[in-house]
């Protein structure tokens, strides 16, 4: 993907199978899987790692160890993988390699003597990396004779072939003509082709235990072969699936509307196409009086949301409006029913609610210790609890905090970056729902709630947010023939108010007998000019006002 190259990140896993002659002169078949590193994709990372015996932990020589380095290392350790630390980009000038090696020792607890220095760009040290894989990573243990157990670690959609499923065969083998079964759903399909990932996909007669490769079986959508799931042979099934499978659930939600309402069909089409390749993308049609018809989309995280928007715009040439992200809340009704709600429109009558909960995460932030104080304050301002920190190495701390997800999805990362002058890194894991006082904030314009601007948020945040929105709207709504009251309200209670004063011209000037004719003629002239104006009476809120209030990035 262009996006990956531009940003220097991996969004989708890719895999390659290569031959390598080891230092012992033997010929080895290496299966390499490149995973994303970002926390949004941590589930994919963990599934890809589950398909491996060892992990090459790549550290950017100029950046050093980051929060996500640590997080991904822990994932590899949990799976009991052999970890080979590799310091990449050593071709860059002005590096402090010793510092990075110290971090490997002190922060990762790995032996720096085992670290390999390389440059993927120049090729320096790559042989050593491959040799280390051969000598240090144990060979796979599965047996081809056993019933088939293949771990799905990714899949991608090909318009001609359907889903191309990326698998690691843990046990057994698979060949064209076999009927396979996806174990979580029970869906079966006949295998059309199997093969290795070489520079191009190379079809093979079969895939056997220990190998990584692809399976094509006439399955249409990647959603039918969920990541982490297990494939087995339908006639000779395995006793059970591989461990660790969970369904990817979106945690961040935004509404996506085409800026040009005529583009809705194209947006639908584009989302459907993206979803073919991205099973974690959830979307549902919604409509707003202000923005037209669009979709409520669930994402794995902020990066996922951002990438999706960018791909929709770039690959499908759409101009989109994406609302600020929000999270899901869990609402317990008085009758005991539990509802998960991310859309303010579905917020039930508060009288029927017995309790509300919000999702918490455990965030980990690694930074030079001089910034600890200000970052702790940021966390506390954002309702963080159970703050604790430990020194990962002299002068560097890892600050751990339990904090509502809602508090980090807006601009938390930007704040962290600016407070730490770019040195702070961030990672998180989802904890659980915890009680939180949720309210629905309505924005009323001349007494009428504007559906598009309603939002769910924590009570403590409501006032500041309502004020900010009212001020923003006041700037953006043009003057009308009447005063416009802009209010932020929770239920019947007004918590913020601004007024847009009316357009007017010397109304209270005197009007005596001699003035009447002149004044009437003036009105007649204005009436003529206003004939085509339809917004008489109603408040006309321009779309850009919605954009200003709802857009993701504060300017």
């Amino acid at each position: 993907m262009d996006l990956e190259r531009e940003r220097g990140i991996t969004i989708k896993s890719s895999a390659v199978t290569m031959d390598h002659v080891g230092p012992d002169g033997e010929k080895y078949l290496l299966n390499l899987i490149d995973t994303p590193g970002h926390v949004d994709f941590s589930y994919e990372v963990s599934r890809a790692l589950a398909g491996c015996e060892g992990a090459v932990l790549v550290i950017d020589a100029s950046q050093g160890v980051q929060a996500q380095t640590l997080a991904n290392m822990y994932k590899a350790m949990e799976l009991d993988l052999e970890i080979i630390p590799v310091v990449n980009k050593i071709d860059l000038p002005n590096l402090d390699i010793d510092r990075v090696l110290r971090q490997i020792k002190e922060e990762l607890g790995l032996d720096p003597a085992g670290a390999i220095l390389c440059s993927a760009k120049t090729g320096a040290g790559i042989d050593k990396v491959l040799d280390a894989i051969v000598t240090r990573v144990p060979a796979p243990r599965g047996r081809s004779e056993n019933p088939l157990k293949g771990l799905i670690f990714d899949s991608h959609y090909d318009p001609y072939r359907g889903a191309i499923v990326y698998v690691r065969l843990v046990e057994g083998s698979v060949r064209p003509g076999d009927r396979i079964r996806v174990m979580s759903t029970g869906r079966t399909a006949v295998v059309e082709e199997v093969g290795h990932f070489r520079l191009k996909n190379r079809p093979m007669a079969r895939l056997a235990a220990g190998e990584v490769g692809y399976v094509i079986a006439g399955i249409k959508a990647v959603g039918e072969t969920p990541i982490g799931d297990t494939i087995t042979n339908d006639e000779l099934p395995a006793d059970g699936p591989l461990p660790g499978f969970v369904e990817a659930k979106p945690v961040v939600f935004s509404s996506v509307y085409p800026v040009n309402t005529d583009d809705f069909e194209e947006l639908s089409d584009a989302l459907a196409k993206l979803a073919l390749n991205d099973a974690s993308l959830h979307f549902q049609k919604e409509s707003s009086s202000a923005l037209g018809t669009g979709y409520r989309v669930g994402f794995l995280g902020l990066l996922h949301a951002e990438i999706t928007q960018e791909r929709l715009e770039r690959e499908y040439n759409l101009s989109l409006f994406v609302t600020a992200p929000s999270v899901q809340y869990r609402i317990t009704m008085k009758g005991g029913e539990i509802r998960l709600i991310d859309n303010p429109a579905h917020y039930p009558d508060p009288a029927e609610i017995s309790g509300t909960e919000e999702l918490y995460i455990r965030a980990s932030m690694i930074m030079p210790d001089e910034y600890l104080g200000s970052v702790m304050k940021l966390c506390m301002d954002r309702r963080g609890t159970n703050l604790r920190h430990s020194y990962v190495s002299p002068g560097r701390v890892d600050l751990m905090v339990e904090i509502p997800l809602a508090e980090v999805i807006f601009d938390f990362y930007d704040c962290l970056k600016s407070l730490t002058r770019g040195y702070g890194s961030f990672d998180y894991e989802i904890l659980e729902f915890r009680p939180g006082q949720l309210v629905k904030l309505d924005i009323k314009v001349n007494g009428e709630a504007v559906d598009t601007l309603s939002m769910l948020l924590h009570r403590d945040r409501a006032e500041a947010r309502a004020r900010a929105i009212c001020v923003k709207l006041k700037e953006e709504i043009p003057r009308h023939q009447f005063r416009i009251a802009i209010q932020g309200a929770i239920g019947g209670k007004i918590i913020a108010r601004e007024t847009v004063s009316a357009v007017r011209k010397d109304v209270t000037a005197k009007c005596y007998g001699g003035d009447i004719t002149r004044k009437r003629k003036l009105l007649e002239k204005q009436k003529e000019g206003k004939k085509r104006m339809r917004s008489f009476g109603q408040v006309n809120i321009p779309q850009k006002a919605f954009f200003a209030v709802l857009r993701r990035h504060e300017e």
Binding site: R483, A502, D506, T508, K510, Y512, G514, I516, L523, E524
Partner: protein, 404 residues
């Protein structure tokens, strides 16, 4: 108001325009001539008597007589008395006729005011404008605050109803300064205050200096506008606290007796006759043969002293313009004027003059304004709230919209 089956509605209000000033104020768009000499004033007086004889037919007594300007007080008590005498010789004044004289401080003294009272003036409207000398200077007034106060006290001492004019919305004027002016007026004991927002009328020196649209003045202008809007509400609130009722957007009276009956009549579409150069008349539906000629009309003398004088010297009526009003125009006027008044729009009168269909449309459109709290929709009236009054012109446009 008298309705005559053959002659339509006859005017019972008389307006006399006195188009002379010592010096024109920088904001004033009314027709007037500066520095008139005694000879001109005498000639004016005799022509006015001629015009009164020519235009006033047999008719019932008038209930209000208003000497406006210009600066009527520039005539002096003697000529004012003669003017009233001329009027009385062609039309009888009702026993309780309201006779108003517009007065500028600096043009009349205590004895003069008493003399006017003796001649029949029972109400004076004094152009005070401000109790701050710097503002008076900026407006181009010839008096200072001290002189204005003196004139007010003299008029009150003469036992006449006293109204004063005050202007707000001057650049740089603070809300506090304005409130001081209002408090000062109330403390003086006047029964009526006309509080106007300064308007930049085309053709006035002030208009040339008005804040123009365009950057960077635009922001300043918007600020000025919203400050002026706030002053409107300050005015109504403060005067209300001081015991005045705003019975029209810029007219405030301590009680019903203190209201300007003449102005109320013009706002309520009662016919009136205006004489003098530039004076306007509103003639109710006439005795014509067909609908078109029975239409009510507005009529005005051309604002030109010379042609007015020479026509009347020759014994003819002065040059005039006139405009018969369509029912739609009458409705627009009723809406436009009604929204400025506490009395509101008289829907029965609308139905009578403009038809049932048009009035139904008006009522339908009004419900939207009622929802916004800008008017109260009563059985036979549309009554503006204060918020509605502040936007009278715009709402008039909305209420009289042709399409829905």
């Amino acid at each position: 108001m008298t309705r005559c089956p053959t002659h339509g509605t006859l005017p019972s209000h008389l307006y006399v325009h006195v188009p002379f000033c010592v010096r024109k104020c920088r904001y004033c768009a009314f027709y007037s001539v500066e520095h008139p000499g005694d000879a001109l004033l005498e000639r004016y007086l005799s022509c006015l008597a001629t015009e009164l004889r020519l235009v006033m037919g047999p008719q019932p007594p008038v209930h209000t007589l208003y000497l406006g300007g210009g600066t009527p007080s520039i005539l002096g008590p003697d000529r004012i008395a003669r003017l009233l005498h001329s009027a009385r010789s062609v039309v009888s004044l009702a026993p309780d006729c309201e006779v108003t004289l517009e007065v500028n401080p600096e043009t009349i003294d205590r004895a003069g005011l008493a003399a006017c009272r003796d001649a029949g003036v029972n109400r004076v409207s004094i152009g005070v404008q401000s109790f701050h000398d710097a503002q008076l200077q900026w407006l181009g007034r010839i008096h200072d605050a001290e002189r204005a106060i003196e004139t007010v006290e003299d008029a009150l001492a003469a036992g006449m109803r006293v109204s004063i004019d005050l202007i707000y919305g001057l650049p740089g004027q603070s809300g506090d300064e304005w409130a001081q002016d209002l408090e000062r007026a109330a403390a003086l004991g006047v029964g009526h205050i006309s509080a106007y927002e300064l308007s930049y009328e085309p053709g006035t020196p002030l208009h040339a200096e008005r804040p123009l649209p365009g950057l960077p003045q635009q922001a300043e202008r918007a600020k000025h506008e919203s400050e002026r809007e706030e002053l409107f509400f300050v005015t109504h609130k403060r005067l209300g606290e001081l015991g005045f009722v705003g019975y029209e957007v810029s007219s405030f009276a301590r009680n019903v007796e203190q209201r300007s009956r003449h102005n109320l009549a013009t706002w309520a579409h009662e016919p009136y006759i205006g004489v003098g150069p530039g004076a306007h008349s509103y003639l109710g539906s006439g005795p014509g043969k067909d609908a078109a000629s029975r239409r009510p009309q507005r009529r005005w003398n051309l604002p030109d002293v010379e042609s007015w004088l020479s026509a009347l010297d020759a014994g003819g009526i002065p040059p005039f313009g006139h405009e018969p009003l369509t029912p739609g125009q009458v409705l627009l006027e009723r809406v436009m004027l009604g929204l400025r008044c506490l009395e509101g729009i008289d829907l029965e009168a609308c139905e009578r003059e403009c038809g049932a269909a048009a009035t139904r449309g008006l009522r339908r459109r009004a419900s939207r304004l009622a929802d916004r709290g800008q008017i109260l929709l009563e059985d036979s009236r549309i009554v503006p709230t204060l918020e509605g009054m502040a936007l009278a012109d715009r709402l008039a446009l909305e209420l009289s919209a042709d399409e829905d």
